[in-house]
């Protein structure tokens, strides 16, 4: 009976996540992006289009801010008053940060976006009714809404081009919110394969499309729990912790030689993507 279930497991249901006593296990997917290696070449973004069936919306819709790039490359200029940006531009690949305490999840009226056991912020397209509250509440604005029915929109996928679509993932119709999934289709295939073998995924067995393509290996993706994984080691080396909103770098003396940070951490969404600061030579 539900009430007895409720009472019996009351303390469990009042648990909070993320907390120490209910960790993700055995997977917690996370990323780290080395901004010093990122050159802003856009290969990841195109890979995302190819892998995730993203529609090309065309100039008109792009102008209206209806682009669907799950992974966008942002370019910033130094903000002081120099005549030229003589230390170059800053590039930042931005996609869903897969927050542990995601602001988008709580507000969805139908529960179409929620937290998976492996630490992803999932988006269930067929549950989505298109209220767009999640996007309204996303501080990073990395959720993209299908403003039109792209599968039937002219020149988005002409007959021949439909053959390129990835059958492992849905093509979203109008009125559905979507966003970076950390290439969940690849993760799920990987997980099933290793389950058959009776083991867990090793580092590198599942790559996201953007990671796979990145010419400078700026993107590292992996299982944060697995101490062998590169992403774990990077997070550890940078002393960035998942469920903390102020990292060693900012709080402790001598932390300034660390590069790892997370964007808008002060809002406490606990993002799963760690960025590493871009470095610029001081001698020149």
């Amino acid at each position: 009976m539900s009430v007895s279930n409720l009472l019996e497991n009351w303390s469990d249901f009042r648990h909070k996540h993320p907390v120490e006593d209910v960790p993700h296990d055995p997977y917690k997917w996370a990323m780290s992006i080395d901004l010093d290696a990122c050159t802003g070449c856009n290969a990841c973004s195109v890979a995302c289009y190819a892998e995730n069936n993203l529609p090309v919306v065309g100039k008109e819709r792009y102008a209206h801010g209806q682009a669907m790039h799950w992974m966008r490359i942002e370019r910033y200029w130094p903000e002081d008053d120099r005549e030229f940006p003589d230390q170059g531009a800053q590039f930042l690949p931005m996609m869903c940060q897969q927050c542990e305490a995601a602001p988008c999840e709580t507000v969805c009226p139908v529960g179409a976006t929620n937290h998976t056991p492996d630490g992803l912020n999932s988006q269930i397209y067929n549950r989505c009714i298109g209220s767009r509250y999640c996007s309204a509440n996303c501080p990073f604005k990395v959720r993209y809404f299908n403003w039109y029915d792209y599968p039937t929109t002219e020149n988005v996928w002409p007959a021949e081009m439909t053959q390129q679509l990835n059958p492992d993932i849905t093509v979203r119709g109008k009125g559905v919110m979507e966003k970076c999934t950390f290439c969940i289709q690849r993760i799920r295939v990987g997980q099933r394969n290793v389950k058959n073998e009776g083991r867990v995924l090793r580092d590198g067995e599942v790559q996201t499309a953007c990671q796979q393509v990145c010419p400078t290996n700026a993107i590292t993706f992996g299982n944060l729990i697995d101490t062998e994984s590169k992403v774990h080691q990077q997070w550890k080396a940078q002393r960035v912790e998942l469920a903390v909103d102020e990292q060693t770098k900012d709080t402790e003396e001598g932390g300034s030689d660390l590069r790892g940070y997370r964007i808008l951490e002060e809002l406490r969404p606990y993002p799963s993507v760690m960025y590493m600061e871009r470095v610029r030579e001081s001698a020149i």
Partner: protein, 176 residues
Amino acid sequence: MSKRHLLAIFSNFHEAEAAVKELRNSSIKGFDANQDLIVKSPIEHPEVEEFLGNKPVYVQWFTLCGALTGGLLAFFLISGSQANFFDQVKGGKPVVPFPPNFVLTYEMFILGGVYISILGFLICAGLPARRSPLYSSKVSEDQIGILVKTDEESAGVLKGIFTKHEALEIQEEAGK
């Protein structure tokens, strides 16, 4: 023993009041002022209660029960479904989070209260009902009606009282 219904229409509220008072003080056979006297009026006259004697109203009990049930229902329905819905882990919040549940509980508290009050009103006021044959549309306009039920033989006495108090009209209907 057969009963007779009488409806007297008054245009003057004070005359009607006086008539009622007289009826209540009289001891007519087969007529009990507490049960057999109904005052019909176009507006709500709180004074009527004074001279008809206080009669209890139970609607507020309905309200209380309704509101409590609504609130309880909401809390248990929502918490229960959160506990059973397999992917309610959201945004770093507990599976059964209090603040949203309280908001919904509050709303359902009101909803239950209002609905059950209305239900209570209908039950207590005896609505919906067929209109009694002794009814005048004047009552809904500007006149006071006094409906009495009495033994056949006492009808004349009552009529006398009504006429004394300048009843405009007296309708009669033979009871069973």
